[in-house]
Symmetry: C2
Subunit: 148 residues, 2 copies
DNA sequence: TATTGTTATACTCTATAACTATA
DNA sequence: TATAGTTATAGAGTATAACAATA
C-alpha cells in the first residue's frame, strides 16, 4: 500500500473535503449562540492572554487594523470588552475583557468543548486517539507557519 | 493516566483551541485566492455532486434559502454557475457549474490540497497517520449529526 | 395550504484609502 | 518619517419577514 496521505490524487482531496466539512461545522457551532466566530476568537484570545494591543490582536487574528478597530468597537458596544489607554505609548490602546465578556467566553468555551466532546464521543476509540494527537499537532504547525 | 480526551478540563480546552486555530487557518487559506470560502464550498459541492436544487444547496451548506439565493446570484454574476429551470417542478431551480466554474474549483481544490499537504508534511509520521485517520472520521460523524 | 424561490432590509465581518495623533 | 489607531466607504455573507409562483 503506498502512502495515500502524500498523494496528489484522491486521498488528498478526501482530506480537503473532510477539512472543509470541519470548518463548516465549526462555523455553525460557533455562530449558534449570540457570539459570532470572529468575536469569540478575539474574546477567547484576550481571555487566555490578557489585555492586548489592538495591532497585536489584528496581527494574531489575521485581519487588518481597521477591521480590528471595528470588531473591537462592536464588542465594546455589546459590553464585552473595553479600551484602556496605554500608559507608556499614548498612541496605543489596550483591549481587555469586561466581567461580562470574561463570563461569556468561559460559557462559550464550555459549550464548544462540550460540542467537540460529543463529536469525539461518536468516534471509535482508535479514531478518538488519532484526533487527540492530530488536532493539537496541526494547530502547532499552523502556528509555526504563521510566525514565519 | 486517565482519559484526557473525555475530560471536561484542560485537555478539552486544548482541543477546542486547536480546532479554532484550524478554522482560522482554513479561513485565511480559503480566502487567499479570488474565491471566498462560502463560494468555494458551494462550487465544490456542485463540482462533486453535479447540479443541485437551490433549497438542497441551502440545506447542505447550513444557510437560509434567501442566503443561498444571494450566494448563487453573486456566483452567477461572476460567471461561475448558472441557473437552469427544473423540468419536473416549475417552481424549482437547478444550479450547475459553468466551464469556468468547474475549472476554478479544480484549480482551487488542487491549491487547497497542496496547502494541506504542506501542513501534513510538517507533522511527524505518527501525527500524520493520526491526521489521515482523524480528519475523515470527524467529517463522517459531523455529516451523520447533520442528517439527524 | 405547502413548497420553492425571490426581494427587501439590516446586520456582521472584512478590505483599502485617507486621516489624526503620537513617537 | 514611521507607527497606532480611527473614519469613510464598499463589498461579501448572513438572517428574518414579506412576497410571488407553483404544487
Amino acid at each position: 500500500m503506498h502512502n495515500r496521505v502524500m498523494d496528489s490524487g484522491g486521498s488528498g482531496e478526501e482530506l480537503v473535503v473532510a477539512f472543509e466539512q470541519l470548518v463548516r461545522y465549526a462555523r455553525q457551532v460557533s455562530t449558534a449562540g449570540s457570539l459570532s466566530m470572529a468575536a469569540s476568537s478575539v474574546l477567547g484570545r484576550i481571555g487566555r492572554e490578557g489585555p492586548q494591543r489592538l495591532t497585536e490582536l489584528a496581527r494574531a487574528e489575521g485581519v487588518s487594523q481597521p477591521g480590528m478597530t471595528q470588531q473591537v468597537t462592536r464588542m465594546e458596544r455589546d459590553g464585552l470588552v473595553r479600551r484602556i489607554a496605554s500608559t507608556d505609548d499614548r498612541r496605543g490602546v489596550l483591549v481587555e475583557a469586561t466581567d461580562a465578556g470574561a463570563d461569556l467566553v468561559r460559557q462559550r468555551r464550555a459549550e464548544r468543548a462540550e460540542a467537540l466532546r460529543e463529536l469525539m464521543g461518536r468516534l471509535d476509540p482508535q479514531e478518538r486517539s488519532a484526533a487527540a494527537i492530530a488536532l493539537p499537532a496541526l494547530a502547532r504547525v499552523i502556528q509555526a507557519e504563521a510566525s514565519m
